[in-house]
């Protein structure tokens, strides 16, 4: 269900744009943020708002890696697997994280709280190994730091970062 005020806001933004197609990613982000992930209902809302077909939006949503067409948890951990993080034993970092959370890479914890996603170079190479937690950079990861971060996420589940 799309709340009326969100629908109106998005509709207004689209109608004010000189080229409405420039707004596609913003609309998809907004709906993804509202629904938690880019579910089918979100896609239908987006199609209606933008006057595009579901296929046309799916062409884009499945191309981009920050649009999630499958359910994700409240917190998304983008674990960098770029070559710099790799050389700092990225495998074991990712391994430790997954073991601690009890998931495989790409999966979400059973309580729906945390999703672990390997990601291409996130841009924090001087603090390798690094990851993004809800859009915030965390670097110099060690097993201890990871545990601390996960504990913090579990403790304050409402702390939503800027990037979803």
């Amino acid at each position: 269900m799309l709340p009326e005020d969100l629908r109106e806001t998005l509709a207004r933004e689209i109608s004010l744009a000189e080229h409405p197609k420039e707004k596609i990613v913003d609309v998809l982000y907004a709906l993804q943020s509202h629904y938690g992930y880019l579910c089918d209902e979100a896609m239908r809302d987006a199609a209606e708002l933008l006057g595009m077909t579901l296929l046309e939006l799916e062409q884009l949503a499945t191309f981009y890696d920050f649009l999630y067409r499958r359910p994700v948890g409240r917190h998304i951990l983008h674990v960098c697997d770029g070559v710099v993080c790799w050389m700092f034993h990225q495998y074991s970092i990712l391994d430790h994280m997954c073991r601690k959370l009890g998931v495989e890479p790409g999966q979400t914890t059973a309580d729906g709280l945390i999703t672990v996603l390997p990601s291409g170079c996130v841009g924090n190479c001087h603090q390798a190994p690094a990851m993004l937690v809800n859009g915030r950079f965390y670097g110099g990861l060690t097993p201890e730091k990871i545990e601390a971060i996960i504990d913090e996420l579990r403790a304050s589940p409402d702390d939503m970062g800027p990037c979803r």
């Binding site: 998809l28 191309f63 649009l67 050389m87 190479c125």
Partner: protein, 455 residues
């Protein structure tokens, strides 16, 4: 160097965070803009930039002035500037540092570029990992607009230019200029070759300039101090300006350092970055991010500028130095990078889409001790054939591999001879069953499975 180098682009970098507008202005910010709007003609500005020999700092090194001069003059209708902050080249984080330190320097540079080509719309294209900097940019753009540095009739000059932040939804290929234009236009971000160049017909069929933010951030300095000053900043005869060099890997002080263009590689790695961590020794580095080739130790004294590196058959790229020590398996590193590029391939042309995973499979077999002698000439040929892909993505993707084959073939041979990785690396097996009787599904398939995780 006799006189110590004083940072230009990062002069306002502080631990406390980005520089606000007031502080920016009080340290000479927006003076270049004031000195240029209506006091110099756009043509004069272009000439200064050409004379300053400003080359693109996004990886290609194309002369910016020459690009901007090809924007048609005087035609009615919108023109676009796309400051490119899609920085996803592994090892590269300089644009993030720059934007995060001095957003108004970037804004001023963008406005100056817009004035030079008489563009009136700017879309600040930024990758999703940099969401915090996207928000920062949005905030500072609003502040700059309030203060009259953006929007209609900038500083009373009659020149209109406004900037909005356009968020990308990810993927490396969006950093390629024509792919970026497709991404903004709501199309699949495949690159678009052939047809008129983007400076003439780009976004929405209008003249469009796409440049890296570091390139644009050089403009205030050039316009304030002159082309000669900019050229004299460099340490090499053909270089110009200063450069943000990133250093990452097993060094004491990984980070982003601004130095004169053409600073020797040795000074950057062993000077600014403090050299190798205790107990490690330098084996090789990638001088400009993952789309460049391994540079062995014998080249440590090369000047880090476009021409000097080209002269030894290498590329400056983004100037992001990734250092490898003697304990790191370069085959594994190459495999990691090939997997990255295979995953980020847009999927348009055959060599890139099918060839990169093929190369990845070969390297994986070599790395896990299943390599064969005949793989080496095969890899060489396949890497060279990437020259004929649709865009230069594939060429960049195989640059480390070509460097590996040129300078570190012995590492490959050792893997093959030993039937294992001499550095003890263990490569995770690829997903899926081996000799399956049913369908083996590799990665997500139709529609619903679009997830960002690796294949």
């Amino acid at each position: 160097m006799s006189t110590p180098f004083s940072p230009v682009l990062l002069r306002n970098r502080r631990d406390s965070g980005p520089l606000c507008l007031e502080d920016y202005c009080s340290t000479g910010g927006y003076e270049a803009l004031k000195a240029t709007l209506n006091k110099r003609s756009p043509g004069d500005v272009l000439e200064m930039v050409v004379e300053a020999n400003l080359r693109g700092r996004g990886g290609a090194g194309f002369p910016a002035g020459r690009k901007w001069q090809s924007v048609p003059k005087g035609r009615g209708g919108p023109k676009y500037i796309l400051p490119n902050t899609d920085e996803m080249e592994p090892g590269t984080f300089k644009d993030r540092i720059l934007v995060g330190a001095d957003p108004h320097l970037v804004i001023e540079g963008v406005v100056l570029c817009a004035y030079a080509v008489q563009a009136n719309h700017g879309l600040f294209f930024i990758r999703p990992s940099y969401e915090m900097d996207a928000e920062l940019m949005e905030k500072e753009v609003g502040i700059a607009r309030q203060a009259g540095y953006l929007g209609k009739n900038i500083l009373g000059s009659g020149f209109d230019f406004d900037l909005v932040v356009h968020r990308s939804a990810g993927r490396y290929i969006c950093g390629e200029a024509s792919a970026q234009i497709n991404a903004i236009a709501g199309n699949r971000p495949n690159p678009q070759k052939g047809g008129p160049r983007m400076a003439v017909q780009g976004l929405w069929g209008r003249p469009t300039v796409v440049n890296n933010v570091e390139t644009l951030a050089c403009l205030p300095g050039i316009l304030q101090n002159g082309a000669r000053w900019f050229k004299d900043l460099a340490l090499t005869p053909t270089g110009s300006g200063s450069k943000l060099y990133c250093v990452s890997g097993p060094v004491v002080r990984p980070g982003c350092f601004e130095l004169p263009m053409g600073a020797p590689l040795r000074d950057i790695v062993f000077g600014q970055a403090g050299g190798m961590l205790p107990g490690r020794s330098f084996k090789a580095c990638l001088p400009g991010g993952a789309s460049t080739a391994f540079l062995p130790a014998r080249h440590l004294d090369v000047a880090m500028d476009f021409d000097a590196l080209a002269a030894i058959g290498h590329r400056l790229g983004t100037g992001s130095i990734i250092v490898f020590d003697e304990d790191i398996c370069l085959v594994g590193a190459t495999l990691n990078m090939i997997n990255f590029f295979a995953r980020e391939s847009c999927g348009w042309c055959t060599p890139c889409r099918e060839g990169l995973p093929y190369i990845g499979e070969i390297l994986r077999q070599i790395e896990s001790g299943q390599g064969r002698e005949e793989y080496i000439p095969l890899l060489r040929r396949m890497a060279r054939n990437m020259d004929y892909a649709y865009c230069s993505f594939a060429q960049g993707a195989v640059a480390p591999l070509l460097g590996l084959l040129d300078s570190f073939e012995d590492e490959l041979r050792e893997h093959i001879a030993r039937r294992s990785c001499p550095f003890g690396a263990v490569v995770p097996a690829p997903p899926g069953k081996t000799c399956a009787t049913g369908p083996v599904t590799f990665g997500p398939t139709p529609c619903r499975e679009g997830l960002s995780c690796r294949i």
